[in-house]
């Protein structure tokens, strides 16, 4: 009897510890969102979202930064999604599992841990200088794409691994070629999972500052980019400027908070997209 009481106490204490840990995390998140929401909410207006900054960025909106972030994320997606998915298909379905493929896989995992500033500097060398793309949306998007690739490859490979081998064997046993098998009996079930991971990677890329600050993001542009080889304004970089580099930091603080709020909403929106994709996938599987 006493022993069972002690066990129950230990269990209660354990649960309490877990709840406290969870509560702390949640509290930080709520505090964080409240702080930004309360200080930035006032700045949000139609004008703020639809107009360019004015008077040395002390007035006006962040429209060019929204457009810039959108465009650069698009380039990122165009590079990272097809290349990542194809690499994952190759690694998981075609490549023989040798020390070489293991090494490649390990390298890809490690690449996802490389600091983003390193990608930024690499992008300057490769895209801006060597490939002569200049500081542009293209350079910045490709740099972010490279940074996102390890994530999309890994996520896509994990999604492919969840497809049971019996689907593959069953298709092959009916006389399907390997590609037919992959196209008709693996990819349709793996793509939603692949997209989930990919969108999470894109959300992370959209919020990055370091990889774009040398490769194409501009301090201030009074006009929208006209082509992919133009410089651009981007939300994270704009926020960085407003928060640390501006000549009248106190004055623009509400605008900085507003920018932060928009950026968070954007990333959250992308993450929600991933959640929705995953939810629909799970429902379909049943």
């Amino acid at each position: 009897m006493r022993r069972s009481t002690r066990k129950k106490l230990a269990q209660a204490a354990g649960f309490l510890a877990l709840r406290v840990a969870m509560g702390l995390v949640l509290a930080v998140l709520v505090l964080f969102l409240y702080d930004i929401g309360s200080k930035g909410g006032g700045a949000i207006s139609w004008e703020f979202l639809s107009q360019a900054p004015r008077r040395g960025m002390t007035e006006g909106g962040i429209f060019p930064a929204i457009v810039g972030t959108f465009l650069v994320t698009l380039i990122t997606a165009l590079l990272a999604i097809p290349l990542g998915m194809c690499s994952a298909i190759y690694l998981n379905e075609y490549a023989r599992q040798t020390w070489l493929t293991r090494l490649i896989r390990l390298s890809i995992r490690n690449l996802s841990g490389v600091p983003s500033i390193v990608y930024g500097l690499f992008g300057v060398i490769l895209f801006v200088n060597v490939l002569r793309l200049g500081t542009s949306i293209l350079s910045a998007g490709l740099t972010l794409g490279l940074m996102t690739l390890p994530w999309t490859i890994t996520a896509s490979e994990e999604a492919l691994k969840t497809i049971p081998d019996s689907y593959r064997e069953g298709a092959l046993a009916l006389g399907a070629t390997k590609w037919q098998m992959i196209r008709t009996n693996v990819l349709p079930y793996a793509v939603p999972g692949m997209l989930t991971g990919t969108v999470l990677g894109l959300a992370r890329a959209a919020g990055e500052t370091a990889p774009i600050m040398f490769t194409g993001a501009a301090f201030y542009l009074p006009y929208l980019p006209k082509s992919l080889s133009d410089q651009f304004m981007a939300l994270p970089y704009h926020l960085y400027i407003m928060a640390t580099q501006h000549h009248a930091i106190q004055q623009v603080r509400p605008l900085a908070y507003g920018t932060a709020l928009v950026l968070i909403a954007l990333v959250l929106g992308l993450n929600m997209t991933a959640v929705v994709i995953r939810y629909r996938l799970r429902r379909k599987r049943r």
């Binding site: 069953g170 092959l172 046993a173 009916l174 006389g175």
Partner: protein
């Protein structure tokens, strides 16, 4: 071996199979006859599944494996360079141990094999679906719900769906790899009836753990142990008067 008019459909000659350094099949020589059921029995790990999977070259998919010896179907070597393995697998269908319907509708499961071969004609697909489902004794149970997901079927129905799916591509040989080990006795009885019926048109090879099943459905039985073919004969002989002491011990339940 036999007075009946038997035609050899599949012949394995001095077959050796290796998983890396492990020799899973040792010098197996066996003949399976057209329009007959050949059962392969033996204790777990004796190589019977390995053997049946060599017949449609399913083991090609496992890295680090190696095959020596010959497998002839209608006298032609299935490992000859001009043989297209995709074509071979269409001729030699397979039903797996665990029912493996695809997460598609019942109809799309049946149509799968035809569609990958370029068949688009909806009417022909429907005809084949009906014929295959009838052939697998499943038509009456599913005819009103062909668009339902195959996962909504019971385990036994799923296995018969897999049989129907294999029939749809009109193979010459059907391989059953312990087809009843994951389904209940009633479903098992249905599948056994079906196999009995299938042999009027196809060459059937079945791997089974269940000796009664082998006795019930097969014409010839091969007993394997530790990768070797111990004895191969007409089923009634194997079960009434086996030549080999090991066979006798196994079928009388002294080990296994």
């Amino acid at each position: 071996m036999s007075p009946e008019n038997l035609q050899v459909k599949i012949k394995a000659e001095n077959l050796d199979f290796y998983y890396g350094a492990t020799r899973a099949l040792k010098n197996v020589t066996i003949e399976c006859f057209d329009k007959r059921v050949t059962a392969i029995i033996g204790p777990s790990g004796c190589g019977k599944s390995t053997f049946i999977r060599t017949l449609n070259r399913m083991n090609d998919l496992i890295p680090g494996t190696r095959l020596e010896g010959k497998i002839l179907i209608d006298g032609a070597d299935i490992h000859a360079p001009e043989v297209d393995v995709v074509d071979l697998r269409r001729r030699v269908g397979m039903v797996f141990q665990k029912p493996n319907p695809f997460p598609k509708s019942i109809f799309d499961n049946i149509a799968y094999g035809l569609r990958i071969n370029g068949m688009k004609d909806r009417r022909k697909l429907e005809e084949t679906a009906e014929r295959s489902l009838r052939g697998a004794a499943l038509w009456d149970e599913v005819k009103d719900r062909l668009d339902d997901n195959a996962f909504s079927l019971s385990g036994g129905q799923q296995q018969r769906l897999c049989i129907a799916r294999a029939l749809a591509v009109e193979p010459e040989v059907i391989l059953f790899d312990e087809p009843c080990s994951a389904i209940d006795p009633i479903a098992t009885a249905k599948v056994e009836d079906l196999i009995e019926h299938l042999k009027t048109r196809y060459t059937v090879v079945i791997v089974t753990h269940n000796m009664q099943q082998a006795a019930r459905v097969s014409d010839h039985t091969a007993f394997m142990m530790l990768g070797e073919l111990v004895e191969f004969d007409r089923t009634e002989r194997i079960f009434t008067n086996p030549a080999n002491k090991l066979t006798e011990d196994y079928i009388t339940g002294r080990f296994g």
